[in-house]
Subunit: 276 residues, 3 copies
């Protein structure tokens, strides 16, 4: 199934409209190109509707938001919703400032998101008002472990039910769920957290995956998570003496670029938990 999702991205090459932060935007664009889709970035309110109209998916990332780009998010999302496009929310730093938490909440009130992708701290900030986030990184207390796995799966499925979205909660163990089914994914490496923007890149390619697989948003989101995590594992194998986080950053995008269906099928590590 996952390899079919990847193949569909490569053949459909969906155009993805990104309203995203300026920290990691170049990596998001190259990651989207690497997976076979096309990116366009645009955050001026006066062109938000036009740009999103020619796209298949909209990726809204609230890192380095400002009052102008918040307007663009709302205008683009309203248009994308009216066209039935895939819309993803990446609530970067929700919990870190009232503006970010409120902006994410306002968007959730008004936009029929297809997927929400964030770390544990961000999603807890939105779902239950917890604010233990450490800036844009998940708080150490907010880790999914084998010990708390059942409880976290319940949380993610519950939040999926409340929001009517696919929820992708990423960290050491990734959970991707709708109200009934949860993919528990164990790809990736801890060193990925030493690079800025692996989460942003994942949101970008996830928008492309879901846009190219409209009938299967849960599987497509999970496939994107496996693709990114597996790319982190493959990229790490190419690391040599003297290499660090800057080279690793390139190696991960390279591995997305070279990912093929067979590699993804062989390397994806996940189990499926269904509601009894």
């Amino acid at each position: 199934m996952f390899e079919k999702c990847l193949t569909n991205v490569r053949s459909a090459a969906p155009l993805v409209h990104n309203i995203t932060n300026y920290v990691t935007v170049n990596d998001v664009a190259n990651a989207i190109l690497a997976c076979g889709a096309s990116p366009i970035m645009a955050d001026e309110p006066d062109e938000a509707e036009d740009i999103t109209s020619i796209c298949a998916g909209l990726n809204i990332n609230i890192g380095t938001l400002n009052q102008r780009t918040i307007q663009a998010m709302h205008r683009a999302a309203k248009k994308a919703a009216s066209l039935g496009h895939v819309i993803l929310l990446d609530p970067v730093g929700a919990g870190a400032s009232r503006l970010r938490t409120q902006t994410a909440a306002d968007l959730l009130d008004n936009v029929p998101f297809t997927v929400i992708r964030g770390n544990v701290s961000e999603l807890k900030a939105l779902a239950i008002g917890s604010t233990t986030t450490k800036g844009v990184d998940a708080d150490a207390a907010d880790t999914v472990t084998d010990a708390n796995l059942d409880r976290m799966i319940d949380f993610v499925r519950g939040y999926a039910k409340t929001t009517k979205c696919v929820i992708a909660m990423t960290g050491a163990i990734d959970l991707v769920a709708d109200a009934d089914t949860c993919y528990v994914i164990r790809n990736g490496r801890p060193e990925m957290s030493r690079i800025t923007g692996t989460g942003c890149q994942l949101s970008g390619i996830m928008t492309a995956f879901v846009a190219a697989n409209r009938e299967h948003p849960l599987e497509a989101a999970a496939a994107a998570v496996c693709t990114m995590g597996l790319a982190g594992e493959i990229g790490w194998k190419y690391m040599q003496r003297g290499d660090g986080n800057a080279t690793y950053r390139c190696r991960i995008i390279d591995a997305i670029c070279n990912m093929d269906a067979q590699t993804l099928r062989a390397g994806a590590k996940y189990e499926i938990r269904r509601n009894q």
Copy 2:
């Protein structure tokens, strides 16, 4: 001739003012440094005139434009024109939104550009109102091929005549023309389109090339195109197993950095078509 253009960039080291998108801005800066010039980025209207005054060239790129940066473009361009500076327009995504198309049109109405550099879809959107652009990438229908080459050369020369600019239309085959003469350039590799920003980088170094070769804007623009395309060929030779678009992105800038006159002379692939 081309190698002399490169040598002049290295010796004059012109300072280039860039008002450009935040997606590829870092690569634009490093590409300008790689070719031997110096970049400065500034898009606040209140400093646009001051910044451009200390430069030799102005590179206006309308990707991720907003109402503030559009003001900065006009103020910088007016000042640069009054000082007789080289001014380049890169109409990123013209045709993709009314705001981009209109912004490019307004700039063309008011600014004596030296060069316009874009892909086929963008230039057609400006010249004849065609809007088949696929976001920021050229539409597949808009490819220069050997079959339509004569017609495309006529189009580019005609648009150069209308605008009184050098026109650089880049793609699988690159055309760089004034009203009389067209360079048909066949450097580069198709994999360059899997990297975001190779066009933006080219606009940056082209501004430097033309600024350092004021008497020969056509040749300088063509030399920049050959330099970039040849860098794409050389960078590709260094690609190893596991490398993808992120590493290729570095390799191309590296190759610009290491380009010397002899390599450029030996590697440039072009013919010149003159009006009969």
Copy 3:
């Protein structure tokens, strides 16, 4: 001492709020992660206070400033000052436009900076109104050499006394001083100036170093300078045939990532000049 400063960054992992330019922001984030700290970027005035409140240090870089981000700088700095946080000013391009010079001056009038880090041209523009800056790079006339070393040390110590800040003036020879003591540092390589943003990266990691070593801001700032310069030397050793400034950029951040206490102790090249 320097190695202890590095170890403290790694163990404290301070969160650094960056209001910085969009040209080099990704490298700043990855450099901060490489040294063991955590970055957050935020430049909307309406969240500036919230974001800086959860951080340990504030890095204000005026490259690509605009009227909105200038407001954010003031609001964040006022809050950071009230909380006793470390605050660093990087006056990118001071002297290149009246807006940049005035913004830096306004900030200096209102904010109790801990450290100011800039190149010679920028610091001269602020201290004595000299405006020989070549854009964002130091003017060639503004080089610290063995011939003018004593005079430059006096200048830096004098400016440190006037501003009550640690002054880090970086170039071929780096000077880091308070009113009494000056570190003269000779790490680094000239090729670092062919990469955009090594100065910005240094300001980012310096904020982290000083935040993790609150009792010793002078030593911490000097340790950051040695770390960056030494990373430039180590990164250069890994350069291979065909590599240029883009690969070198990655290699430097990689070397920061791999820096350990022993390497820093063995590689730091400096002398200490104390006021007699």
